[in-house]
Each structure stands twice: as C-alpha cells, then as structure tokens.
Amino acid sequence: MSDEELRSYVGELLGEQPGADDDLLELGMDSIRLMAVADRLGADFADLAERPTLRAWGELIRG
C-alpha cells in the first residue's frame, strides 16, 4: 500500500483527512478501526497503536 493509498484509506475510516503527523487516536481511530487497519496492512495492532501517525505507519509497512 502506498502512502497515498494509506492516507486515503485511513481518511475514509475516520471521515476526515489526517496530516502525516496527526495523532490518529485523537482523530477518532478507535481500537476497532485500528484492528481493521492492522488486518488490512498485515501489521501488528500494538505496533500501530504505539506510534499512531500516518508517517509512522508508512515506515512500518515499508518495513
């Protein structure tokens, strides 16, 4: 998933477009949505939750 795809996917989940360094938990990324993201990205829920920004997530999936 590209950064742009990630941004638009997360934006769809939250109903608003986050910036790269916005805290996604603050923007309404609850545990349930986070699980969906983890599933979709094949990433670990806890890893995503530890650093909940688009930038960090991009780095995570690029590995």
């Binding site: 309404g28 609850d30 349930i32 949505r33 986070l34 699980m35 806890a46 939750a49």
Partner: protein, 1301 residues
C-alpha cells in the same frame, strides 16, 4: 511477594468469590486451523507463548496475587469426528471452574478433526484474560509456530500502571467526575426482559450479517431496537472497551477491559445516521475516561446490589477478524463463551464474514425470546441500513406489534361467575356470603333470593339497577348475572338529568329501583354481557363500556390467584356500585366463597372510625380507592389510627399512588399487610396490571399484567389486549392492534428494568379527580348550557399540596354570571364540578386556533394565603387545600362547595392531625360552615397518639409565645448539653467572648458534681479552666425537669445522638425538651445538623418541610425541633438554627465517639481500611462554637449551615491515616466489616452499625453556607490529620505506629 489485584481483576475475583464453584467467568475460544499442522511444533510454540504470559500463572488470595510457574499443564490432544462434536467437548470443559487460589487458570486443547483440520481451543478464566488477550495469545502462537519473532509487554508494568491509577494520581478523580456527570439524571436502563440475577447459563444465537457493521451503527441499531420495544425515550447500553491504547497493557495478555455506559436518547424522528453520529461522538468523548471501572461507577451511583443496573444490553463490536497463519495453515477464530452475561450481549465480529453472537442470561430470557429479539434486531438493522436517513418511526411501526409484557396463561380455567357462585353455594351453603350491620346472608340465602330476582327479570338483556349499597343491590346484581343478563348500575344520588341521559342511551329492558322492578322498551344487543358501566369518554358524553361474561370470568380467574383470596377472607365492599372496583369486590369475594362485608356511610365518619369498624368486623382484605388510601396512610403515620390487626391484604387503585404515602405506609405498617397497587381502565375489566409495593422501591410501579392479559407499549402509550378486554362501548367497538382487539388506554407508561410498568401520566387531557375520570369536554358542554357563559375551558390542575382540582376558565356573555356551581350541580356528578372559576375576556389560543390548554394549566389561580387567624383560619386553610378552591369565606357551606365523602374524610383527617384531637365527620355534617365548625370543635389536649410521629410532634402548641425578658447586666444565658463535645466548646467560647453568666443544666446529683462534670468536659478537650462564678451549674435532667427563669438567650445544644435508636426513644430528649425550652420565651439558638436536609442537588439555608429522607429517629427528631423553632419564629420569638456537619475536633483533638474515629480505631486494629467512597461536610468544633456565638451576637435569625470547608472525602481522610504510618490496605467495605466482627467489643459495635445501615446515605448536595461566610476556619488536611492521630496515640485511642495489634 504478593502484588495487589488490579481493580479489573478485583471485580472478577469478588464476583467469583460470591459464587464459588461457578464457571460463569470462563471465557473460551477456538481457532479453526485448516491445512497441514505439525502438532509437535504447535505444542512447542504454544508452551513457549503460554509460559511468557504471567497473567495466566497468577494465583489469587485476599492478600493479593502471586505469579508462579504452572507446572506440567496438559495440552489435551483428542480427535473428533466433527466440529459439532468438538464444540460439545468444549462446552463440557467450560463447566470446569478454575481454582483462583491454586491455578491453573486455563486449559488448552488441540482437537483433530482430520489431517487438514484442527481446532485449537483455549479456556481462560476472565481474571487472566479478556477478548483482546485471547487475540494476543493466538497471534503470538501463530508467529512462534511460523518461526516469526515476537514478544509480550511487561505484566509488572501493567500492575504498576493500575496501582498508580487506582492510588489516586488525579486521573481517577477526573474520570470519576466525568462519568458521574455523564450519568446525572440517568434513567434506569430499559431492558427487554425483567432483570434477573446473573446465571451460569447463557443462551446463544449466532447469525450471519450481510455487511460489516461499524461499532457506532451496531450501537445505534440496538438503541433503536430497544426504543421500539420499550418505548423508552432514552436507552443506556453497555460498551465494552479494551483499555489498551496508550497503556502498558497494549501488548500484554491479561484482563484489562472495562464496560462503560452509553446513554442514547432516541426519538421517533431520529435516523440511523443521526443516532450513529451521536453514538460515535459519545464514544469519542468518553474514551479518555475508559479506565474508570464500571464497578466503581455503580457504587458512585448507588447501583450496587439487587437488580439495579448501570446499563442494559451490551454491544460489543469485535475487530478480531485477524488472519492467523500457522505456516501454510490458516486459522479463523470462534468464540465459544464470552464470560458472564448480565442481561443481553450482542457481539458483532468477523469470522470469514460478518456475524453476530446474541448471548442472553438464561435467567432472564427463554431461548424463544432470545431468538425473537435476535430476529427483530437483525431485521431492524437491515431496514435501517437500507436507508440510514429515514426516520425510525417509518421502520419500527410493524415491530411494535411485539407484546412487551405478557401476564402468562391463566392458572385456572375462566369459568362464568354464575357457575362459580352457585358452586360455592353448593359447597358451603351456610357460609356467610354478605354481611351488613350485623345482618348476614348465607350463600344458600343469597342464591335463593338471587334466583327469585332472576325469574323477575327473565328475558331481559340489560337490567339497570339503581339501589343503594345493601343486600338488595347485591342480590339484584347476582340475580341479573344468574339470569344471563347484564347489569347497569346507576347511582341513586345522581342528578335526574344524568340518569335520564344514560337510560336514553343504554335503553335497558328493566329498571330496578327501591320502588320495584319496572319493564322498559329495551334495545336489542349482543348476548352474553355481564355488565355495562358508564365512564366519561373523550367526546364530551359518557360512554357505556360493555363487559362480556367471558371477560369477567377471565378477570376473576386471573385476579383471585394474584390477590391470594381465600374462602376465609372477609372483604370490605367499599366502592360505589357504579365504579367497577365494586365488581372486583363483589365477584372476587363471592366466587372465592369468602364474605363480603358491606360498608355503611357511618363508617366514613373518619379514617379512624372506618379502620376501627374493619377491626371490629374482622375484615382481612381492604380494597380502597387510592385517594382514600392516601388519607388512611396519613392517619396511620400520625398515629391517629391503626391498621386493623386481621387485615392481610390492601388493594388500591384508581389513580397514581403518591410515593411519599407509599413510604409512610411501609414505615407505619412494617410488612404486616401486603399492599397491591392495581391499574386498569373499565375497558379492560377492572384491573389489568398489579404490583405488590415493597419497601425500598423508589418508584410506585403499576406492575405486570394479570394472567391472561397482554400489554404492548406503542409510542409510549399502554395498549391492552387479551381475554380481559371488554366487548367495546355500547355504540362503538375498540380498535385493534396487530390484528387483534386492543384498547388504547391513553396512559403513558414505561417498562422498568425489572419488567414492571411505570405510569407516567395521561396522553390526552383527561384528568382524574377523586377517582372520577373527568373529561373537560363534558364539563365544558354543561357550562355552555348556562346562558351567562359564552366560552368555557376546563383544565385539571395539581397543586403543590398534591390536591387535584378542576379550574373553569369562563368567558361571560355579559356580567360575570353567578350560580355556575349550582347550574352544574344539576347536570353533573359533584366530583367533576370545578372548584375554581376564572372569568376572562378571551381564552388563549394556539396558532391553529385551538384553546391553548397548556397555557391555561400554567395559569396560577392562587389559593389565598391565610394568616393564622385562629381555628377558623385553620379550618379554611384545610378546606381550600382539600377542595382546591379559592376565596372560601367562613360562611360558605362545605357541601355546596363540592365537598363529598372523600373530601369530608380528608378534612376531618387533616384537622385531626393539625389540632391533635379527634374530629368526627358528623361534626362537619352538622356544622358545614367554617365559622360554625371552628366553634363546634371540641376543646382539649392532644389525643395520646399510640405511635409518636415526628410530623405530628412538629406542631407548636399555642402557649409558646415570646416573652419580654427583663434585661440584666451582665446577661445570663442558658446553655444545654455543655458537657458534650460541642457544648464544651460553646461554653468556653461564651465565657471567652462574652461577659455573660452561663447557666448549664447538667445531669448530676448536686451542684458541685455538676460543676465538676463541666470542668472535666473542658479539660478533656484542652480548653481553658472554668472561671470562678460565671458558670451556674443546674443539676437537672432536661427530659424530666421543666426549667424556668429569665434568660437573655437560650443556646440549646443538648441532644441524644444515635443513628440506630427509633424516634420514640429520642423524642423526650430531642423534641419535647426543645418545646419546653421554647416555653421560656427567650431568644433561642438551636444547634442542629445538616442531616435534616432533603436529598437533592443542594442544601439551602432554610427550613425544610418533612421529607422521606428523614429516615432515622435522630434526624426525624432534629427536624421536628427545627420545625418547632421555625414556628416559634413565626410567632415573633427571636430564633436561629445552626446546622453542623460531622463535627471534627479542634486542632489536635478528636471526638472518640464520632463514627469516623470509630472507623479509624477499628481499622487500625484490624489492619485494613474500608473502601468508603463518600464525601461529607465536616465542621471543626472550635469553628462551630465561634460561629454560633458570633452569629447569635450579631442578631442572627433563620437557618445557618455551618459548613465552611469543602466536603471531606472519607477515602482520602483514611488514606491520610494510612500515610501517617499505619499499614492499612484498602479492602471492600463488606469484607472490612466482616473482619471487625472478630475484633473487640468496640470494633464489633462499629461493625453492627454498618450492618444496621440501610446502605450508604445519599450524597449530600452542595451546602449553601453564605450566612457564616465571614468567619474564618482553618482547613482540614493531611497535617490536621497527623495532629489528630498524635492526639489519639497520646490518649491511647490508637496504638503507637507499627505496634502489632
């Protein structure tokens, strides 16, 4: 080293301890693994992961938890031929109860279905794992199996984090404030089934969902479903939260989840989108506070114990659709048991497709009910998601066809009453059927004369009976029913016009009067009716309700069992025969073979007379109109009457019972008789629902449907169905509901959590007064017949006193017409004649041109306030209250003002209470004007009441008057209770800051002994020594001696303080003494307590009327004294009241008798402090003394709340004690109390106090204390506590720190 349990664990540990051996806290899941699986490799991976999860290896005791290795736990390896067989094995395993003290907390199994399919099953006790923990474990096992790296977070860090939070790092208080605020004014959560205890058995239904459902949508749909089923305007759902984000538990398999309440207001105009939006915002708003345990919140809100609920159904949206890969094999997760289910849980998850698990507590729901709800929920969800912007009202109409409440089948067949009465006569011919004034009619005699009557009316279909209550009337009624005809009761006292109107409309074939039986040309009608009763309808004209024989039989079959009526019962026949309550009395009694005792008019002389007559007659069942019962309760609670000893059941109905009266009833009767609150319109045959009213219920429910009756709530309105329904009106059938005959009651109701119905009021304008259903239109039509009336609008009003009255707003054609009352009296029954008339030029109208009735209702028609102008004034005030009328003059005739039997009783009852003497009703009949009645009232002392009541005692006798006390220099003050904790400070303060001489009554043999007691009291608190000559000891007991003398001021501080003693035992010391001291006629300063305040958001600085919060004898006695002081103030005496909170010691001193210090002492000895989450105002004693003396010298009058400091949180105060060096771990209150019972006598006494307490006192509202604002008060803080404790050690109240106990 044992670690404390986290609050989440503690909740489960406590729950398990309360139901030992119960497997209800087991959670179970399996992973369905498809593909080749290396079983050895799997076991190795599993053992590695389980070994790395410390929470699974903890063992628990009341000392805490210890993590140790679980040695040699087995991995069950078995084969099953199918998934179903494997699931059966799992369900069996889930019945095993883990031993929390010894472990293991879990079980593991690998079940082989075939070589390409394995089920990996885990059972873990909820104390060790929540749903998220399961997912962490599964994921880690899959990783380990596949050789991928991974690890868990630190369990120790989780415990530390919890300890920090629970230790009060500030966040907890903030979270508490959030939730308490969010739950302010929260209704009892609506449920789909009566609340039941959590059982070990859960019904589960699983269904596939067409699409994924976001959490807020699942919650919104559930809220809409509850609304549709219960009609509730607000639902409260439970939302499980994982509590992992931003927490040390993020990667730790353990128990961390919580459940938070989610309030969702729902209205018919809402849409799925609007609800989901609200829910999403609410969830987001609450998220920062999710850690606050729901167990704590329940306690904060007083929702602990019984069937009280914080939330209704739980909606859990599980995201665990994780894709597990074990090498090449893939796993999907299936939940088998999610742990305990309090009510209903809907879990939405994804297992190879979206699905929902509906789990229901089997004690509350049958499997069929669960299936019906699951289907209903699914279809509602589908309809709502099809168009998320359509209003709910469009979708749910078909859904509300579901019956909310069903009285169940009849337990005995519905047999026609004629057969039952004949059978009773055959079985017991000599038993007494009817009795009046010593005359008796046996069943055989009744049947014989009734059959003779039946012959006389043979062939008739409707028989009008206009006879007074008596043997003839009962015989005619039974005879009519035996003849297969219906009876139509008419009141001989009705105006001729009304009787003629009804006869013309109903067209009976026969009219029976005292003059004989008269045949008339009747109308043809349906066969098989039992009776026709007229009620006021909505069209302005009375309506005849036609009740079939089958409905009557149905009612008798259903009610006899519920009321528990027996052949040896003696039932009072109280109701007028044209009220359908008489049907209940007559037919239930005669069909049961019991005795019907007809009342006489003489019995209505007074409540006391009626109850005495019932006692003499051995009545066992009393069936009373609620309005009359209110008077009975009043008399019982003031001790002017007593419940007849043989009465075992009291049935009330006809209007809403006042909660205050219900509480008084319970207090007065103490369980000696059952109280049944019945509800039912005439259209549903007397009674449709019944509730047994029990102490402690804050509501007054109308209960559940009788057997055979079903009830639906449609848009908040109660709709009745079933075999008890009347046939219809004589001229019109009822409507139908969901395809069956149904009666829309017009009553607004709500279904409470336990399934009981609560009556909320009328939907239309209909108004009930004295049990009569009043239709304003009927009264208005009658008013308009008067030539002087151009327009009229009649509205019902409920005055603050609870009096219900009708007010006529009249636009006259010219001059204000006179004689409206007389005009109406010729047309209408007395009860529906308005008691107040307002003349106006125009009536207010709404924009659509209709009369604006709500504006009229709001129009204040003041009852003239009257000063105390003697007995006539008292009489007039009572009349105005009872009649709801204005401007009554001493010459007005009570009966011409609309007074009837009930109002007569109300008047004599209230006058008796006000005057403290018996007032017979005959007096009012003989002297119907206020002037004449006042003159005729018997002089005399207060009647000796058998049970003294604080309300009855709170009437100031006329001899208490202000007196001109001669001034002396220096002045002499009287101070009572000077040897007490507060009194000593008051004495010291008066000595220091005034030059007065202080007279102190002290219980002692002589003056030197009295003086010595005073000196000792001051010394004990470190106060300065008594100066010579200024203190005048009076050896006297206030409860025995009446003091006399001239004092320039009285400081009345003496009181017996006890929370356990009844009012009667404290009355002499705390109330009579106040009265005696008031008789001194001197300026009066009364030391009172904030405990007299009524529960509510604030405690104002003013006197309070009596309220149900005055629960114990002490507060009742203090309230009664305040009330006496208030009345003395009204008479011109200079009076002031000073209310204190919990009296704290002056700096460095404590009151060892105070409850707080008893708790501290018992706690230190027991090595634990109780978890007491209670905040209360504390008043330091030196401040109190200073404030009283300062304010009294400044000429204070009225009430002063002396609460200068913020409320003290007991938990915090106890924490200060612990911080001072006592090892006092917090334990739950009940556990703490248990420990105390094994302590010394003092500790056991403290334990007994908690055992006796009916629960924590309601939190006290914000205390207004503006009048003492200027008087400085040092804070009570950690430092104060340290000095208090040092004092305790110095005086031996507490052992030295670290001393083993």
């Amino acid at each position: 080293m044992a670690e404390p349990l986290t609050a989440a664990q503690l909740g489960i540990w406590t729950g398990q301890a309360l139901s030992p051996g119960s497997p209800v806290y087991n959670a179970g899941e399996y992973v369905d693994i498809r593909g080749a699986l290396d079983e050895r490799r799997f076991e190795a991976a599993l053992r590695e992961v389980i070994g790395a999860a410390p929470a699974l290896h903890a063992v628990f005791s009341d000392a805490g938890q210890v993590v140790r290795e679980t040695d040699g736990w087995p991995l069950h390896r078995l084969s099953a031929s199918s998934v179903e067989e494997a699931e059966a094995w799992m369900r069996e395993d889930l019945r095993v109860c883990a031993d929390l003290a010894a472990g293991p907390l879990f079980a593991q199994a690998l079940i082989r279905i075939d070589e390409d399919r394995h089920l990996w099953y885990q059972r873990i006790h909820h104390i060790a794992a929540d749903g998220y923990a399961f997912s962490l474990l599964a994921r880690r096992v899959a990783e380990a199996y596949s050789g991928r790296p991974g690890s868990f977070g630190s369990y120790a860090a989780v415990l530390e984090e919890a300890a920090r939070y629970e230790g009060g790092d500030g966040t907890r208080a903030r979270d508490r404030a959030y939730w308490v605020g969010r739950c302010a004014g929260m209704p009892a959560p609506p449920l789909l089934a009566p609340a039941a205890p959590v059982s070990g058995e859960v019904h589960r239904r699983t269904a596939k969902l067409p699409d994924r459902v976001p959490p807020e949508v699942a919650v919104a749909a559930t809220a809409a479903y509850l609304h549709a089923r219960t009609g509730a305007a607000e639902v409260v759902l439970g939302l499980p939260v994982m509590n992992r984000l931003g927490s040390a538990s993020l990667k730790v398999p353990c128990m961390a989840m919580n459940i938070v309440p989610l309030r969702v207001p729902v209205s018919p105009s809402d849409t799925l989108s609007s609800l989901a939006g609200h829910v999403a915002a609410e969830i987001r708003h609450g998220r920062p506070h999710h850690r606050y345990r729901y167990e704590w919140l329940r306690r904060d809100l007083g929702l602990v114990g019984g069937d009280r609920r914080l939330f209704g159904p739980v909606v859990n949206v599980l995201p665990f659709g994780y894709d597990l890969r074990f090498g090449e094999a893939r796993g999907t997760v299936h939940n088998v048991s999610a742990g305990p289910v309090e009510d209903l849980s809907i879990a939405v998850s994804d297992r190879g497709g979206p699905c929902a698990d509906f789990d229901a507590n089997a004690a509350a729901y049958s499997r069929d009910e669960l299936d019906a709800h699951a289907d209903g929920w699914l279809s509602l969800l589908q309809e709502l998601t099809a168009d998320p912007d359509q209003p709910l009202s469009r979708v749910w109409k078909p859904l509300t066809g579901g019956v909310v409440l069903d009285g169940g089948p009849l337990s005995v067949p519905a047999v026609p009453v004629a057969h039952l009465i004949a059978a009773q006569a055959a079985a017991g011919p000599h038993a007494v059927a009817v009795e009046q004034e010593g005359r008796r009619l046996t069943y055989r005699e009744l049947l014989t004369s009734a059959r003779a009557f039946a012959d006389r009316v043979a062939g008739a279909s409707l028989v009008a009976i206009m006879l007074p209550r008596g043997f003839d009337a009962v015989t005619a009624i039974v005879g009519t029913v035996l003849a297969g005809a219906a009876y139509l009761p008419l009141d001989p006292a009705w105006p001729r016009a009304r009787v003629d109107g009804i006869l013309a409309a109903a067209r009976p074939d026969v009219l029976v009067t005292a003059g004989g039986v008269e045949r008339r040309p009747g109308a043809p009608r349906d066969p098989g009716l039992a009776y026709v009763m007229y009620t006021s309808g909505s069209t302005g004209r009375p309506k005849g309700v036609a009740v079939g024989q089958e409905a009557l039989a149905h009612f008798v079959a259903g009610a006899t069992g519920v009321y528990g009526l027996r052949a040896d019962d003696r039932v009072l026949q109280f109701a007028p025969l044209h009220f359908d309550a008489s049907v209940e009395e007559i037919f239930l009694t005669l069909c049961a073979g019991a005795t019907l005792v007809l009342r006489t008019d003489e019995m209505l002389q007074s409540v006391g007379r009626l109850l005495q007559a019932c006692a003499d007659l051995g009545v066992t069942v009393l069936d009373l109109p609620t309005a009359f019962w209110h008077e009975v309760v009043y008399a019982l609670s003031t001790g002017t009457a007593a419940l007849p000893p043989r009465v075992r059941t009291v049935i009330i109905g006809g209007e809403a019972a006042l909660p205050e009266r219900v509480a008084r009833w319970h207090a007065a009767v103490r369980g000696s008789a059952r109280l049944l609150n019945t509800y039912g319109p005439t259209e549903a045959t007397v009674v449709a629902t019944v509730a047994e009213l029990v102490p402690g219920d804050p509501d007054v429910p109308i209960g559940r449907p009788l057997p055979g009756v079903r009830a639906a709530v449609v848009d908040g309105e109660l709709v009745l169905m079933g075999g008890g329904l009347a046939r219809g009106y004589l001229d019109a059938p009822f409507g139908s509901h969901a395809g069956e005959p149904a009666y829309r009651t017009g009553d607004r109701v709500r279904v409470r959590a336990d399934g009981a119905l609560l009556h909320l009021g009328r939907i239309d304008d209909e108004f009930k007064i004295s049990g009569h259903r009043v239709d304003p239109a009927e009264v208005e039509s009658a008013l308009l017949l008067h030539p002087g009336v151009r327009e009229a609008a009649v509205v019902g009003q409920v005055l603050d006193s609870g009096t219900r009255r009708l007010v006529a707003h009249v636009v006259p054609t010219g001059e204000e017409p006179s004689g409206l009352r007389e005009h109406l009296a010729g047309l209408l029954p007395a009860a529906v004649i308005p008691s107040a008339y307002v003349f106006t030029a125009t009536l207010p109208r709404t924009t659509s041109g209709k009369i604006d009735r709500s504006a009229l209702k709001a129009t204040a028609v003041e009852t003239a306030s009257r000063g105390d102008d003697g007995l006539v004034g008292v009489v007039l005030r009572v009349w105005e209250e009872v009649l709801g009328a204005t401007g009554i003059t001493p010459a007005d005739d009570f009966f011409q003002l609309g007074g009837q039997s009930l109002q007569t009783i109300q008047v004599v009852n209230r006058l008796a209470a006000e005057l403290g003497r018996d007032v017979p009703a005959t007096l009012l009949f003989r002297h119907p004007t206020a002037a004449a009645l006042a003159a005729a009232l018997p002089p005399g002392a207060r009647a000796t009441a058998e049970a003294p009541s604080h309300v009855a005692d709170a009437v100031l006798p006329p001899d208490v008057l202000p007196r001109a006390v001669p001034a002396t220099r220096p002045p002499t003050y009287l101070l009572t209770g000077a040897t007490g904790f507060v009194g000593a400070h008051l004495l010291s303060e008066l000595l220091t800051s005034t030059d007065a001489r202080i007279a102190c009554p002290v219980r002692a043999a002589d003056e030197p002994a009295a003086l010595q007691r005073l000196a000792d009291a001051l010394a004990a608190q470190g106060l300065p020594e008594l100066p010579r000559g200024r203190v005048l000891p009076i050896p006297a007991d206030l409860t025995k001696a009446e003091l006399t003398g001239d004092y320039q001021a009285v400081y009345h501080n003496a009181a017996v303080v006890s929370v356990t003693r009844p009012y009667s035992s404290m009355r002499a010391a705390n109330v009579t003494a106040t009265l005696d001291l008031l008789r001194l006629g001197a300026p009066f300063h009364y030391i009172s307590t904030l405990a007299v305040a009524a529960p509510g958001p604030s405690v104002p600085e003013e006197y309070v009327p009596p309220h149900p919060g005055l629960r114990d004898g002490y507060t009742q006695s203090k309230w009664a004294s305040e009330e006496l002081v208030r009345q003395a103030g009204e008479r011109g005496l200079h009076t002031a009241v000073y209310r204190l909170g919990r009296v704290a010691g002056a700096d460095g001193h404590v009151n060892p008798g105070d409850l707080f210090w008893r708790i501290v002492r018992a706690g230190v000895l027991a090595g634990a402090r109780p978890d007491l989450d209670l905040a209360e105002p504390w008043t330091p004693v030196d401040y109190a003394a200073r404030a009283v003396v300062t304010l009294s010298h400044a000429g204070a009058t009225g009430v002063h709340n002396l609460a200068p400091l913020p409320p003290v949180h007991l938990a915090e105060a106890l924490e200060w004690v612990a911080d001072d060096g006592y090892d006092l771990p917090v334990v739950p209150l009940d556990a703490w109390v248990r420990r105390l019972r094994n302590g010394d006598a003092e500790s056991a006494a403290t334990a007994a106090f908690f055992d006796l307490a009916t629960g924590p006192p309601p939190p006290m509202g914000h205390v207004h204390a503006g009048r003492s604002a200027g008087i400085p008060c040092p804070p009570i803080d950690r430092g104060t506590m340290r000095r208090y404790l040092a004092h305790c050690r110095a005086t031996g109240l507490l052992p030295a720190k670290g001393t083993p106990c």
